[in-house]
Each structure stands twice: as C-alpha cells, then as structure tokens.
C-alpha cells in the first residue's frame, strides 16, 4: 500500500499499525481492508478464525491489533478473542451487525477492547490505534515513572533512533523500553509493589505443557508461581511470568464455566477494591493501582508480581476488570480480607449460583483457588496452548460483601458439565469434565479428585495443542460438520426451486464471470467456499456452469 509520506521522519505512530482483520463476510473484509488502508495502516485479512490464529502464531509480533467479527463459521469470535488475548496478548476489537447489549457485554467480558457495530464507519477505524497505545501504556505502568514518560516521549517525537525509512511501530517503540527495563530491574525483588517489566514471554505449547505438568505435580491446593517455576526448570522464565500465566489460566477456565451461567453477565464493579494491593504478606504483589485488599495472604502459596498479569488484565481495557482479576489471584484461605477476592474467584467458577450471593465464610477461601484448578486442568487438556485470561465474569457480587458464599464454591465445579453444551463448535469444544463438581464444598482434597477426573478428558479431547495440529484438527472437524447436514447436494433441486421462486433471472445459461477485483487477498475463495460447502452440505463451487450465479452477474457491460 502506498504510504505517500513525504518525510519518513514525520511518520509516527499510528502510521503503519499492523492490523489483522478476521471476518467471514468477504464484502466486509474488502471494505474494511480498504478503510484501514486509507488510515495508513498495514492490513492483513483472513476469513477464518483458525487461519487468523495460525497467522498470529506464526508471527508472534507481527501484528499490533486484531479486528474480528463475532460470528464466524469455524470458531466463535469470542473464543478467538480469548485465544488472542491469552496467547498473544494483543488488543482485539469485535465487530457485529448485532448490537444487543448482552452481546456487547459478552465481548467486553471476553476481553474485547472495543465492540463495533456494523456498518462500520471509517472514522471508527481511524482511532483503533488508541487501544494499542493504551495497552502499551498499561504495560508500562509497572515501570517507574520516568521510563514510561520516556516511552511516551518516543511516541510523541518519533524517535531518532529509528530508521528513517521505517514506520514507527509500536513494538519497536516499546521494545526499547522493555530492554531498558530488563537491564534495570533484573535484580529487583519479586515482591515489590511495582513489578518489573520484562520482555514479554511467549507461552508456546511446550512451555505451557511444562507449566501444566508442574501445576499438576504440585497439586492444585499447593500451587504457586514459585513452585511451578521450580518444577518447570526453565531458566529464563521468571516467577512473574509464571504467576501471570497462572492467573490467566485460571480466569480462562473459570470463565469457561461461567459461560453456562445465565446470570454471568455482570458488569465488573470492583471500584471498591481500591485499597492498595501492596505486597503486604509477600504473597501478592501487584501494582498498587490495582487496589485489591491484600490482607491475609500469608497462607497463600502464591506470589506473583502483577506486571505481566497487569498487562493481560489491562488488555481487557477495564480498570475494574483488572482489579477483579487481581483479586482472583489471591489465594489465601482467609476470608475476611480475602473475601472479595474469593468472591470473585468463586463467582467465576460457579455458574448455577446467583452472583449476588457471594457472601460466604472462610470455607470458600479454602477452596477457591482450588476450584479453579480443575478448570485449569480442563483447559490444559484440551488446548494446552490456549490460556485464556480474559474472563471478567460477574463481579457485581464482589462489590457487595466480603465473603464468598459457601455455595458459590459448591457449585463451582458443576459448571464444567454445562459448559460442553455451551460450545457450539466441536472444534473448540472443551470436553466437559466428567468429574462431579459437587466435590467443591470447601475441601481442598476434592480438587485432587477433580484433577484426576480431568485426566481422561485430555486424552479424549482433540489434541489441539500444537498449532499445526490445531489447524488440521479443525479442518477435519469441519468436514464432519458438513457431512452431518441433510442436504448433501441439491444443486439441481435448488435450480428448480429458484425457477419457481421467480426471484432469479431465468436466463441461467448466461454465465457470468466473477470479476477480478484485483485483490486476491480478499477472497479466500477456495478454502472459504469449500468450507461453506462442507458446512452447508452442498457443493458450493464457483463454477458458474453448475450453479445459478446469475444473481451475481449484476453488471454486464
């Protein structure tokens, strides 16, 4: 795409922002691509979610932001959103023609940083860079003030240190800061309030597997970042990395369960948790801005610094969410102070419970970290590399009272089963844990049981752990989907049908050639339509001769 800038020096962010657009509607894909190019962004389009994921995985730092439609054939847009948030930690904007509040809320809950309604105006796209910037700034909050300022200065001035011939990329801008931070804060104590900002860790499938194995080995009731780290034996990994990953994982799992809870549509309202979350007991170090009551964390075996965590949380773009997530992280058995945290945690996990009643006594505390454990397990089994953190389920209950309800915990595990029904797409279906969920009655031991229950699930689930395999599995699944449809091939039927209908031109013999739009990237026609064929159970080929496409032959010169 032409940039047409006279002076490269003056090209500052957000020019050249690398956007990945995912939409199964080819018309919208074309329009969005054009709009984004007009904004001087670098655009990549794809029409399948799995394709998008593989693109993102291939080039970990290849994109700055993802825009995705909510309804896509191969994967629910929300799931894609989760994956992206978890694996790549990129801002994701959702789009849909459906603007119902519940949908929008779901988007926010899943971590979307914005939700656009179609038809989309170009001016809405022009400003998407703010999400990228915001995320970076939030990531940078862990760093001491002057570093952040410096980073921002770079943004503002279009630093000289960048090659004139290149556009300023957000990654470049912040990579400088990252490097500096690592050098500077390498020796910082883990338990400090402001965590150091390390270079982003990419949780590969292998790494995640190690993580999961370590977690299992330790046992959910004892799991903590340090222990996990030790077991994983990955030299370059820090406890912070592990802690934030653990956090995400739990949230993802509990959110999954949450999906089954019809009441799980709350606004995160954790404003009250403004007490600074200092690392009082050394277990829980999160940036003070998170304001989560730290108290009673002594018993917690967790200890994580919030920096990565913050990043992820902030990716959600909601202050309240962040707080809530932080709260969840807390794992001490104490109720009083931890009630809020516990509450949050439990609310996530439970689905049958009304969130309003999060008041519980200490027992909750005892089990809440554990309650999530099975979820984690579940998740890891089915998609080891997909750790989702963006779940901001109902937090309203958190704001009230400080004790998590016993019953909240009690029901937490049950949610597993319902979840499976929630999954419409088999390929992204996390097999429901067969484990009985009622084991969670405040006893830690039950979690181990649940843990075990999940074991078989992993084998049962399609191993979507490896990226390539992922794609393969999905495609094989999609094929199955297609065969399940009643109409295997009704071309002829349709033709006859159409004639009767009278709505279509009768001159079927007129073969219309599909115009060459000059942008092959737009039409991922081959795979897309083949997929559609499988999906709808008929041969949807672009061969005009056997397919009444007169309708499309709009403009015959």
């Amino acid at each position: 795409m032409e940039s047409g800038f006279s002076s490269p020096r003056s090209d500052v962010f957000p020019v050249g922002l690398r956007v990945l657009v995912v939409d199964d509607d080819p018309t919208w894909l074309k329009i969005l691509e054009k709009m984004l190019k007009k904004c001087s962004y670098e655009v990549t389009t794809c029409c399948l979610a799995r394709e998008a994921l593989s693109l993102l995985r291939e080039r970990k730092d290849g994109y700055d932001i993802v825009i995705s439609d909510v309804n896509m054939p191969d994967m629910d847009g929300f799931k894609l959103l989760e994956h992206v948030g978890l694996e790549m930690d990129l801002p994701v904007i959702m789009m849909s023609v459906d603007g119902e509040t519940s949908r929008v809320m779901k988007g926010v809950q899943h971590g979307a940083c914005d939700y656009l309604l179609k038809p989309i105006r170009m001016k809405e796209l022009r400003n998407i860079w703010q999400h990228v910037l915001r995320k970076k700034i939030q990531e940078g909050r862990d760093i001491e003030g002057h570093d952040v300022f410096e980073g921002l200065q770079i943004l503002r001035n279009g630093s000289d240190r960048y090659d004139d011939s290149q556009f300023l990329r957000v990654e470049e801008l912040f990579s400088v800061r990252k490097r500096k931070d690592v050098d500077k804060y390498e020796e910082k104590e883990f338990g400090e309030t402001c965590s150091t900002k390390k270079a982003r860790v990419v949780w590969s499938v292998d790494l995640h597997q190690k993580f999961v194995e370590a977690v299992n080995q330790i046992g959910f009731d004892k799991v903590g970042p340090k222990k996990i780290l030790d077991l994983m034996n990955v030299p370059w990994l820090t406890r912070e990395n592990v802690a934030s990953h653990l956090q995400k994982y739990r949230l993802y799992l509990s959110r999954l369960q949450k999906e089954n809870d019809p009441k799980a549509c709350f606004v995160v309202g954790m404003k009250q948790t403004d007490s600074s979350l200092k690392d009082g007991d050394g277990n829980f170090s999160v940036c003070s801005s998170l304001g989560v009551p730290q108290t009673d964390v002594t018993n917690s075996s967790f200890s994580f610094s919030g920096d990565n965590f913050l990043q992820n949380v902030d990716s959600i773009g909601c202050e309240a969410d962040r707080k809530r997530v932080v709260q969840e992280q807390t794992s001490e058995p104490k109720r009083a102070a931890a009630t809020e945290l516990i509450k949050t945690r439990c609310t996530h996990m439970k689905f049958n419970n009304s969130f309003a009643s999060v008041e519980s006594e200490g027992k909750l505390a005892a089990c809440y970290p554990w309650v999530e454990a099975p979820q984690m397990k579940l998740k890891q089994e089915s998609k080891p590399h997909q750790v989702q953190i963006n779940q901001l389920p109902s937090v309203s209950s958190i704001s009230s009272g400080r004790s998590a309800t016993e019953k909240d915990k009690g029901s937490s595990i049950e949610s597993k089963a319902p979840y499976s029904e929630d999954c419409s797409q088999p390929m992204v279906h996390l097999n429901p844990p067969k484990a009985s969920t009622d084991s969670c009655s405040g006893k830690a031991k039950s979690f181990n049981e649940i843990n075990d229950h999940f074991e078989p699930i992993s084998t049962a689930t399609a191993p979507l752990g490896v990226k390539n395999q992922n794609v393969i599995d999905l495609s094989s699944i999609s094929t199955d989907l297609g065969s399940g449809f009643p109409f295997s091939s009704f071309d002829e039927d349709l033709q006859g049908y159409l004639f009767q209908d009278g709505c279509y031109p009768k001159n079927l013999e007129q073969i219309i050639e599909f115009p060459d739009y000059g942008d092959p990237g737009i039409f991922t026609e081959g795979p897309t339509h083949l997929y559609d064929a499988m999906r709808f159970g008929y041969e949807y080929s672009y061969d005009p001769t056997e397919y009444p496409v007169i309708d499309e032959g709009l403009f015959i010169a």
Partner: protein, 150 residues
C-alpha cells in the same frame, strides 16, 4: 454535452436511490473509499455482496423448506445476510432482515415466509437499479467522478 447529460442522469439515478430509501449512508462510505487505486471499488463491492449473499439466500430457501422450521438456524442465516446487506447500505433489504429476525424470535413461520419474499423482491429491485446505475457510470467513463453527498 453528452457527458454532462450523462452525468446528470447518473446523479439523478443515484439520488433517487437515496430518496427512495433503497440506500443509506453506508453506500456513501463506499463511495468515499473509491479512489485512483480502486476506481471501481463501489461496483466491485456491490457485486461481491450480491454474489456472496446469494449463497445465504439459498441457505434460507433451504431452511424455510424444513419442517418444522428451525428458527435459530433461520435467524443465524439472516444475521449473516443482514451483515452482508449492511455492507453496501441496502436499507430496505436490511429492514426486511430485521423484520425476519423478529419473526424468528416470535416463532412465526408465516411471518418469516412473507418477509423473506419481500426481502427477495427488494433485493432484486435494488440489484436492477444498481445494474442500470453502474452501466451508466461505465458509459460515462473513468472521468466520471463519484458523486459526493449533497
């Protein structure tokens, strides 16, 4: 001379599309996107939209033949179709889409059938108008500048 006449004709045609309520603001957005690098952008998009949405029409036809009707499925198809129609600013068609979805929600098969017929009529009518419009535009040649909204 002739060109001016042609231009006026094109403009009138275009304006009537808006006046009749067949098109909305989104179409203008498309026009704004058209430039030297994509001189036929609008026509390409409209063509693409009709082609792709045709598939959805077929799906809907099929689904409406089922007994009993699967309203969720119908709604899902229609949502896709609505999304597609919204891309070119097909206002009347979109309205039918919305109505159709309402009938899906209320489980009215009769309502769905009727609305679907209306929808197809609107769609075809718009298609014909587009054909005439773009044909004229092509006649006018590349020097024809896309009209700006008044």
């Amino acid at each position: 001379m002739e060109r001016n006449q042609l231009s006026r004709q094109i403009n009138r045609m275009r304006q009537s599309l808006f006046d009749q309520g067949s098109l909305d603001e989104q179409f203008v957005q498309l026009e704004l996107l058209q430039d030297e690098t994509n001189p036929n952008f609008v026509e390409e998009v409209v063509t693409l939209c009709y082609r792709d949405s045709y598939r959805l029409i077929l799906n809907l036809e099929q689904a409406l033949q089922k007994s009993p009707l699967d309203f969720n499925q119908l709604d899902s198809y229609m949502q896709q179709f609505k999304g597609s129609s919204s891309s070119i600013g097909a206002r009347k068609v979109k309205a039918q889409c919305t109505l159709f979805r309402e009938y899906c929600k209320s489980g009215s098969g009769e309502g769905c059938f009727r609305t679907f017929q209306e929808l197809k009529k609107e769609r075809t009518a718009l298609k014909n108008k587009f054909e005439a419009y773009f044909q004229l535009k092509r006649q006018a040649g590349p020097s024809q500048i896309a009209s700006r909204p008044k």
